[in-house]
Symmetry: C2
DNA sequence: TCATTGTAAATTGTTGACAGTTTACAATAA
DNA sequence: TTATTGTAAACTGTCAACAATTTACAATGA
């Protein structure tokens, strides 16, 4: 026991716990992931191990280990003797990811519908209202986080963490498609109308309707993305 | 151009291509994966980096990189400062994996049913017959590979490689549950009756029936596994 | 006997160095 | 000009060594 006050003691404990869980590799991994998802490392660019290591103040070991993890997650790919490259999703791969994501969340909706409870429906309705508000105010940037929370809430309520993880793995991967981040324009209002259909089907406790509304929402989102990309 | 015969030339080219695609890391990864899936490295055991490296005649670098990949694949987990451990699936996690797998392949069946063609149905029927044969002869060990090919064929026919990959990721992960590998006894005949129901639903081109038969098959397999484990 | 402390061995985390391959580019020839 | 060859620089693949942490275990005391 040290002589410092209890509050500081807890601080030290927390810092140690943090230190233990955060190896250099995991920090580097999160940083590369951030660079990729925020577009600072564009698809198809090579990841220079040495310069990245210097930039982060570490050696190449942790960088390479982090890259292996990100490779398995599908964010980067390894070309032997040539290095790691940020992955670029083809249109075919993007379509496949969308369909797989549709399979996942439609199943979640199907299992959730028969057992959903009133407070859960209220939470979803609350998120719907928030999205309507930001759409009507034209606050485009704030829609996405609420949208994300809406879908994640449904996955949480479905109660299958593995299903939820798979969904997020696919969502992360989809950032690697060219046409991501294009302005959605008026589509946000359309998207939220689909959200209402989803909540309606869940409220009616109709498994098939929930399955269809969730699947259709993802696939219609795919159509919007493909249309935006072809313009 | 070298002066060696063409046949040798091709050999050299192949070897170079092989050499290029097989970094030490990928070889080590496959070897650890084999050790785990064949039960030579049991769940919850620590992976000693140095001894494994010596055993394979490489240094710790490639071993650690391979472990990061396998960690991302969910086969091993990393405890900071304590090393890599073969993952052990809890019953809850196994159930979640089964349900996620059901979601995946049910969706594949649903999309395949309306568009399946006669030669594809014939291939599936051929596999059914082969499984019936080995079951009637009591050749337990040969059932599994055909069973695997049956499901994989359906996923291939569905035409979504990402869906197929996710399915196999989940299947691989399920080897980490305690009660795997218990003798299935008479259940193989039951399993193959379910296979016939699947092919029937596909042949009728009924998307909903295909979805249900595929989902039920995976979930009934889960029940069999849970029952076997509780005995 | 049992719990506690201290020390050595084992093991992981990280680094820097070297070998082999790829890439960039200047020199040469058609 | 364009294609080809040769050379140097840059970079990846791999290894061995050192630092930091954990583990094993003997020594000590209640």
């Amino acid at each position: 026991m040290s002589s410092v006050p209890a509050s500081d003691d807890k601080n030290v404990t927390d810092q140690l716990a943090l230190r233990r869980s955060q190896s250099l590799t995991s920090i580097v991994q999160l940083e590369i992931e951030r660079l990729i998802l925020q577009g600072e490392l564009a698809p198809d660019t090579r990841i220079n191990e040495l310069s990245l290591a210097n930039q982060l103040g570490v050696s190449r070991g942790p960088v390479r280990e982090a890259c292996r993890t990100l490779q398995a997650l599908g964010l980067i790919e390894s070309k032997p003797n040539r290095g790691f490259f940020v992955r670029l999703l083809t249109t075919k791969e993007a379509i496949e990811a969308y369909n797989t994501r549709a399979a996942i969340i439609a199943y979640a909706g199907m299992t959730l519908a028969p057992v959903i409870e009133q407070p859960q429906l209220e939470l979803l309705n609350h998120l719907l209202d928030k999205m309507d508000t930001v759409v009507s105010r034209g606050e485009v940037g704030t829609y996405d986080p609420i949208n994300l929370e809406f879908h994640d809430s449904i996955l949480r309520m479905a109660g299958n963490e593995r299903l939820r993880q798979t969904y997020h793995d696919l969502l992360r991967e989809q950032h690697l498609f060219r046409h991501r981040g294009l302005s959605d324009g008026d589509n946000l209002a359309v998207s939220n109308r689909e959200h209402r259909l989803i909540v309606d089907s869940l409220a009616s406790k109709d498994a098939n309707a929930a399955f269809n509304s969730m699947r259709d929402h993802v696939l219609l989102g795919m159509q919007r993305m493909l249309n935006a990309g072809s313009q």
